[in-house]
Amino acid sequence: MDVDNPEEMSTPHASIILSDSGQTMEVDDSAPSTLSGLPNLVLDMAETQVDAPPPSLTQCGRPRRGYRLPKRFRDNLPEPPAPAPTTPSNSESNSNTNFVRRVILIVRDRLVTAKNSFGIWRDYPERPSADPDSHLTLEELSNSYRHGHLQSQAFSDSETQRPSHWPFLNGTVHCVMQWLNNGQTAKSEAETTKLIHDVILSPNFDPDDLVGFDAHRENQRLDKAVSESALRTQFTESSVNILILSGASHVEGKTFEVPGLLHRDLTSVIREAFESPLAHLYHYSPFKLFQTSHRSEKEDRIYGEIFTSDAFLEETERVQRHGLVPTEDPTCKREKAVAAMMLSSDATMLTDFGTTRGWPIYLMFGNLSKYIRAQPDSGAMHHLAYIPSVSHPCLVGLSHLTNTIPSYLNQFGTLSHLFIQSGGVRKFRSSPIVAESSCMLFG
């Protein structure tokens, strides 16, 4: 079939298939593909093309024109990269090579995936144990997708382990307290009817359960349970010591204690993140992402994610080759993966009115695609710590140290920016000129 013949091109369907098959054929010549079966498939397509019926004719005997939507109305649906065939990590097979000494045989199981309709393909240095993108649906690839249902799922998991009358001792007390705290404060007729029908006449109601009942104590029990299950309990509060130098050679620096630092255990945050429902989208195996241009057949590397970056590739390589295994478990054959931590921190206004502000340190993971991570309700950002700002009791102590700092502090009220801007407290200078100029530079 001759593509250049305009009459052959007149049937839109035929011309589209032709261009597709032609391109894929060339692609197969240029790029290696370990996906067997693909070339055959393409050949089949080409053969069926030869047998395609001639273009249908109009009543006048002319070839029927093909009508296509203008380009601006055509919508290319998003599409994940071609899936990578995954294998479970079975490092046991390598254990047979233990008897070979002084020879390190590094077998790379390189994997190049097929191209998708945008010409995008992936080059794995090692065959991945999981391909999170292979489960992506069209809905998840679109902009309107929200991960809200994942979060609600995460909350319900912990809640299902509780008894239905949590946190009360039994169902009867739960019923009574539910009626008491239903938001209605007036003792109205409707409320009394509700009390009789919903509580006392309920099949679960048992007067024996109410022996020794005290509404105040039950309310306290509820308050305690709610506060314990809150996120706040995961944080520990501690204080940090900072050293402020006096700036003069004959006066020694003084250490100040800044209380109120709230922080979580970093290891537990990482563990929690990798066990969360969102973690099924985490990338553990890095790869290089390429696009082959439809026109020039030129291959371009696509940079855009942590897990396609050279840094992640190199670090994974380093960890897999030289990552230490604890002495308790020297024969550990588990797959070694990198958690790409991305930290950030900035002072944040917490209310529209007033001066309530927090200064959190956030933790995100580069193993997750930025398109999911950047969604406000994805739950991908973990709060690691809340930094305290230095308050007045500290400043009182500081003012005794040197007479040049207070004028500066009075202007800004807090000290925190001072030692941050000076690159740590050790370089702190009390000269007002230096202080002012650093304020101009960084403030």
Binding site: S89, D265, F274, E275, V325, G366, A385, I387, S389, S416
Partner: protein, 47 residues
Amino acid sequence: MHAVWMKILDDNFLHAYKYGIVIKCVDGIERRIYPRFFTYSADYPEK
């Protein structure tokens, strides 16, 4: 800020950084996860 990081990067984390931590991931595979820092973006607080 440096003092805060001294608190966060405790011995527990340093052990995890060196030897990794075994986590059973959502897909059911146990992996030894080595935490590594890739980016750190922090602002100078204004006040």
